[in-house]
Symmetry: C2
Subunit: 173 residues, 2 copies
């Protein structure tokens, strides 16, 4: 959830001027289990940090006990890639005007929760594990967000320190 | 798909010695659209590279034309986070013995395609865009893999060069 994770778009059903929606496909192709819930200090979207690195709040990832054994071996892992479901987002926009950016951009050039499959991916720091609960920093989502997956973060394949997002760099941030 | 992306587990329905499966939940909680297909040189799992950085093969991400406008603004983006669906993987294992590691590990300590929600996340380098097709390097998946999402990769929030995966580091790689 970089850059626009806390965008108000997620809870808006209205389209802003210049935004473009497409007809959604007739049916779905695959299905997901919610495997737990993420607990954060933020109850309203406008209270969420703009991205996970803007806050050092400790959040709790609570895994459904059904899956607890799957945490075996996670003790020595420093960072995780956490996938979660932005369940309040509309899915049909292809051009968006997030309210803190002036220009319209394509959905796939943004980290907005509004996308065909509203799966967010956040890199978090793992602070501790107690039973089926992980303590982490680096999240920016609403309290009670549904959890989809937890993966170990491998610097060798996941870290690209010199990656550039052209439109974002030009904004001078 | 770091570390075990090309694992043969994905196409096995058998459980290996020591692996542990749980009963899957009664129903699903959310649904996905396949928004395109990923084209790679690899037709069989055993031909896939072990992770995306082991190969410089150029792969094509073909987006369903319905969503093409969503690529607007992606020109100046150097790297992408690509989410795709590992549609051949079983979903009920919590302890796994990937065949190139000796020890069993929990599903959430592995990047194996075998997980409750078989969503893979790979960081790729964007080489070019032609219409609704992206040319990229950094993938390790089978040809024709279903595409779920394309996100711009932000070094500021997605890159952690000093992240450690303890069990993997101990293996001396």
């Amino acid at each position: 959830m970089a850059a626009s994770g806390a965008d108000a778009t997620a809870e808006d059903s209205a389209i802003r001027e210049g935004e473009v929606a497409v007809a959604l496909p007739q049916g779905y192709d695959a299905s997901l289990y919610f495997i737990g819930r993420i607990h954060t200090p933020w109850q309203r979207r406008q209270d969420c940090p703009k991205n996970g690195r803007e806050s050092d709040a400790v959040c709790r990832i609570e895994l459904d006990p059904r899956w607890s054994v799957g945490l075996t071996g996670l003790e020595g892992v420093s960072h995780l890639l956490v996938l979660y479901w932005m369940d309040k987002a509309r899915r049909d926009l292809v051009l968006q005007s997030p309210n803190h950016y002036a220009e319209r951009r394509g959905t796939f050039a943004l980290r907005s929760p509004v996308r065909p499959n509203p799966i967010a991916a956040s890199v978090v720091k793992l602070l501790g594990i107690g039973g089926n609960v992980l303590s982490v920093t680096g999240l920016d989502c609403l309290d009670n967000t549904p959890l989809l997956d937890i993966k170990p973060y491998f610097a060798s394949t996941d870290s690209v320190p010199d990656a550039l997002v052209g439109w974002h760099a030009k904004r001078g941030r």
